[in-house]
C-alpha cells in the first residue's frame, strides 16, 4: 500500500470534468484506489464518489493505492493533480 498527499490547484476544484479525468486515470491500473478527505473516504474508481468530495481549490487529499501497480498509479495520479487537470 502506498499513500501520498496532494493539493487541488485548479480554480473550480473537483467538479465533474476533473472527476472524470481522475476516474479514467485510475481505471488504467489494477490497484485499488481510495481518496480520503476530512475523515471521509471514497472509492477513487467511482465518479459519483469523487463528485461528492467537496474538494475546492487549495484543499488537500490523501491518495491511497493498493495493488501490483500502485507505484505507477500514484505517479500518474500525482501528475494529473499537479497539472490542475489542465484547467486554470
Amino acid at each position: 500500500m502506498i499513500e501520498r498527499e496532494v493539493t487541488i490547484r485548479n480554480r473550480a476544484g473537483l467538479h465533474t470534468r476533473p472527476a472524470a479525468s481522475i476516474v479514467k486515470t485510475a481505471a488504467k491500473f489494477k490497484s485499488e484506489f481510495w481518496i480520503e478527505k476530512d475523515g471521509m473516504e471514497i472509492n477513487g474508481k467511482s465518479i459519483i464518489g469523487v463528485m461528492t468530495l467537496a474538494a475546492e481549490q487549495g484543499s488537500t487529499l490523501l491518495l491511497r493505492f493498493d495493488g501490483p501497480d500502485e507505484n505507477e498509479a500514484l505517479t500518474a495520479m500525482e501528475q494529473l493533480f499537479e497539472s490542475g487537470f489542465g484547467e486554470p
Binding site: 465533474t16 470534468r17 479525468s21 459519483i48
Partner: protein, 586 residues
C-alpha cells in the same frame, strides 16, 4: 375510415413571431422530460422484470449519451464535451449503479422510486458543501437521473434528428437550440416564450424561422406530419390543405427573391436619401456569425455578447482563453469596429447566481455581478484590452443603474491597463467605453452617464420590460410588452436627446433596432447607430436608404403626439405598406 380522418381540417394556430422565414415540412415533437415519480411496491415475482427494466433504461441512456457526446465534440470541442463523457461514466459507476440494482432486488420497490432516492442522496451530499461549484455538479447528476427516469418510462429522446424537421416543443433553452442547430432544423415552434426570449434571439442569429408562444400545439400535432410555419407573422398551420400549401409556397418564394435583391446593398452605406449617415452594425453571439455579418454588409459589431463563451462552461474562462476569443473577433471584423459587452450574466442567461434569487431580473446581473467579483472582472478587462491592439475594439458595460457603477468599472479598467503596462503588454490606450441603457434609471440620467462614456447603447428588450413592468418571457402577459407604447417612444426621445454630446453617440442594440416597423421612427428620433441581428440587416439598410431624414423627423414628431400603441402601429404599418409593400411586417 371516413374522409375527415384521412384529411383532418386545417388548423391555424397563432403565436408570436420569433424569427423570420416560411417553411413547410415535417414536424418533430421534442419533449423535455419532466419526471414525477411515484413509489410502487413490486410483487416478488416481478422483481426480475423490474431489474430488466432498469437494465434497459441504463443501456438506452448510454446509447443516447454516446450520440450526444459525438455531437458535443463537433459543436463544442472535445474539452467541453467531457461533461457528457462524465455523465456516461456515471452510468457505468460501480458504486452508484451496483447499489441501484441491489436495491431493486432487495427492496421490491419500482426502479423509478429507487433511482430518484439514490441520486437524491448524492445530490444532497453535494449541495450540503459550501463549494460554489456544487450546484453545477448537482445539475449534472440531475441530467443523468432524468435521462434514466425517462428511459424507464420508455419515452424516446430525440435520437433520430437526421433529416429536415420542424422542432416543436413546450419550451426550449438557448442551449437546446444550439445543440439542435447542428441538425438540419427547418424551424422552431414553442408553446412558451416571447419574441425576445433568448431562444428566439438565437434562432434569428442562426437564421432559422421560429414561432413562439403557440398555446397547446404539442397536444395537437403528431410526429412527422406536414405543417407550415410562418415566422414573419407568428403563424403555424396544421393539416394544411393543398391550396394552403401552394399559397405559402408562393409567399415563401416572394420573400426569398426579396432577400436576394437585398444582397445588392451589401457594400452601400446606411445613409438616407438626403445624406444622413448612421452606423448599421450587427449583434453577434457566436464566432461563426462573423462571416455572415460580412455577407450582410454590417458596419461592424455593435454588440458582442461575451457571456456566450460561458455556455456549457462550469468556470469562468481564464484571461488567456478570453483573449484568444476576443482577438479572433477583433481580427475577424477588422478594419471595422467591434463593441465587446462585458459578461451580462444572471437574468435568464447562462450562469445564474450561486444563491437562489426570487427575482433574478431585478437581481444580481450584468455589471452588478461583475463589480462584486473584481478579480473575474479584471481578467475580462485585461483580456479585452490585450485584444485591442488593432484599435478596433470598444468596451460596453451592461445593466448600469447609476453613475457610480460606471466610475467603478472605469477604475477597474484603469487598473487593468496598469497591470498590462507592468507586464509590458501593448493595448489601445484610448479604447472607447460605453454603457448600456436598459434600466429606466439609467435612461433618466442619460445626460450624466454621457459625461463618463464615449457612447450609450439602448438595450430595448430589458428597458421595455422594466419600464412597462412586463416579463417578456411570461406568455400570460407578454402581449403587454409593447415596443410602441407611447411611454417607450417618449423615453427613447429623452435618452437620445440628453445622451447625445459632441463626442458621445447614442445607439441601440435591442430587438427594436431590428424591427423594420421602427426604423423610420428611430431615424427620426436621431438614433446614431443600429445594432441588429445579421439576418435582418439588409432589410433595415434598404429602409434607411429609401427615406429622407427630414421626412423621418416628421414621422417621429407625429408618433410622439399619439396616445396608444395601436394608433402608433397602425400609422407606421400604413406608412410601411405605402413605401415598402415588399417588406414583411410582423
Amino acid at each position: 375510415m371516413n374522409h375527415a380522418e384521412q384529411h383532418p381540417h386545417e388548423v391555424k394556430l397563432r403565436g408570436i413571431p420569433g424569427s423570420p422565414g416560411i417553411v413547410i415540412g415535417p414536424s418533430f415533437l421534442f419533449f423535455k422530460h419532466d419526471p414525477t415519480v411515484q413509489v410502487r411496491d413490486i410483487p416478488a415475482e416481478l422483481v426480475d422484470h423490474e431489474v430488466e427494466r432498469l437494465q434497459n433504461a441504463v443501456a438506452r441512456s448510454k446509447k443516447e449519451l454516446t450520440k450526444i457526446l459525438g455531437y458535443a465534440e463537433q459543436k463544442l470541442g472535445a474539452d467541453q464535451a467531457r461533461i457528457f463523457e462524465a455523465q456516461f461514466m456515471l452510468l457505468e459507476d460501480p458504486v452508484l449503479i451496483d447499489a441501484l440494482f441491489e436495491r431493486v432486488k432487495n427492496e421490491r420497490k419500482n426502479a423509478e422510486a429507487l433511482v430518484e432516492e439514490e441520486f437524491g442522496k448524492y445530490q444532497r451530499i453535494i449541495l450540503s458543501s459550501k463549494d460554489e461549484y456544487a450546484r453545477e455538479r448537482a445539475n449534472d447528476l440531475e441530467d443523468i437521473r432524468n435521462r434514466i427516469l425517462r428511459n424507464l418510462e420508455e419515452q424516446k429522446l430525440v435520437s433520430r434528428i437526421e433529416g429536415s424537421h420542424i422542432i416543436i416543443s413546450r419550451n426550449l433553452a438557448a442551449a437546446d437550440v444550439l445543440v439542435f442547430s447542428r441538425n438540419d432544423v427547418l424551424a422552431y415552434v414553442t408553446e412558451a416564450g416571447g419574441a425576445t426570449s433568448h431562444m428566439a434571439l438565437l434562432a434569428r442569429a442562426l437564421k432559422i424561422p421560429a414561432v413562439v408562444g403557440v398555446h397547446q400545439i404539442c397536444n395537437q400535432v403528431q410526429f412527422g406530419e406536414t405543417i407550415i410555419v410562418d415566422g414573419y407573422n407568428g403563424l403555424v398551420v396544421l393539416h394544411p390543405s393543398p391550396e394552403t400549401i401552394r399559397h405559402f409556397e408562393k409567399k415563401r418564394a416572394q420573400y426569398l427573391s426579396f432577400e436576394e435583391t437585398l444582397s445588392n446593398l451589401r457594400d452601400l452605406p446606411a445613409e438616407t436619401l438626403d445624406g444622413h449617415r448612421v452606423q448599421l452594425s450587427a449583434n453577434v453571439e457566436l464566432e461563426q456569425e462573423l462571416d455572415f455579418l460580412k455577407i450582410q454588409g454590417a458596419d461592424g459589431i455593435g454588440l458582442y455578447r461575451s457571456e456566450s463563451m460561458l455556455l456549457g462552461k462550469e468556470v469562468f474562462p481564464s484571461e488567456d482563453e478570453q483573449y484568444d476569443r476576443y482577438r479572433r473577433i477583433a481580427e475577424g471584423v477588422f478594419p471595422k469596429q467591434a463593441i465587446i459587452r462585458t459578461f451580462d450574466i444572471g437574468g435568464d442567461k447562462f450562469m445564474a447566481a450561486p444563491t437562489h434569487e426570487n427575482n433574478p431580473f431585478l437581481g444580481w446581473r450584468g455589471i452588478r455581478a461583475m463589480l462584486d467579483r473584481p478579480q473575474l472582472f479584471l481578467d475580462q478587462l485585461r483580456a479585452i484590452l490585450r485584444a485591442s491592439t488593432l484599435k478596433n475594439i470598444s468596451i460596453m458595460f451592461p445593466m448600469v443603474t447609476n453613475l457610480k457603477e460606471v466610475q467603478l468599472a472605469k477604475q477597474l479598467l484603469a487598473q487593468a491597463k496598469d497591470d498590462l503596462r507592468s507586464r509590458g503588454l501593448i493595448f489601445d490606450e484610448s479604447i472607447k467605453v460605453g454603457a448600456m441603457v436598459e434600466v429606466p434609471a439609467a435612461a433618466v440620467i442619460a445626460d450624466h452617464l454621457a459625461k463618463e462614456v464615449d457612447f450609450l447603447s439602448i438595450g430595448t428588450n430589458d428597458l421595455i420590460q422594466y419600464l412597462l413592468a412586463v416579463d417578456r418571457g411570461n406568455d400570460i402577459v407578454s402581449d403587454l410588452y409593447q415596443e410602441f407604447h407611447p411611454a417607450v417612444i417618449r423615453f427613447l426621445r429623452r435618452i437620445i436627446e440628453r445622451g447625445k454630446k459632441p463626442h458621445v453617440w447614442v445607439g441601440m442594440c435591442g430587438e427594436m433596432a431590428g424591427d423594420p416597423l421602427a426604423t423610420i421612427l428611430l431615424i427620426g428620433l436621431g438614433l446614431d447607430e443600429f445594432s441588429v441581428v445579421p439576418a435582418v440587416l439588409p432589410e433595415i439598410k434598404k429602409i434607411i436608404r429609401s427615406i429622407h431624414y427630414t421626412e423621418a423627423c416628421h414621422v417621429a414628431e407625429r408618433v410622439l403626439g399619439m396616445e396608444t400603441e395601436d394608433e402608433i402601429k397602425a400609422f407606421l404599418r400604413h406608412l410601411m405598406k405605402l413605401k415598402f409593400p415588399e417588406i414583411p411586417i410582423g
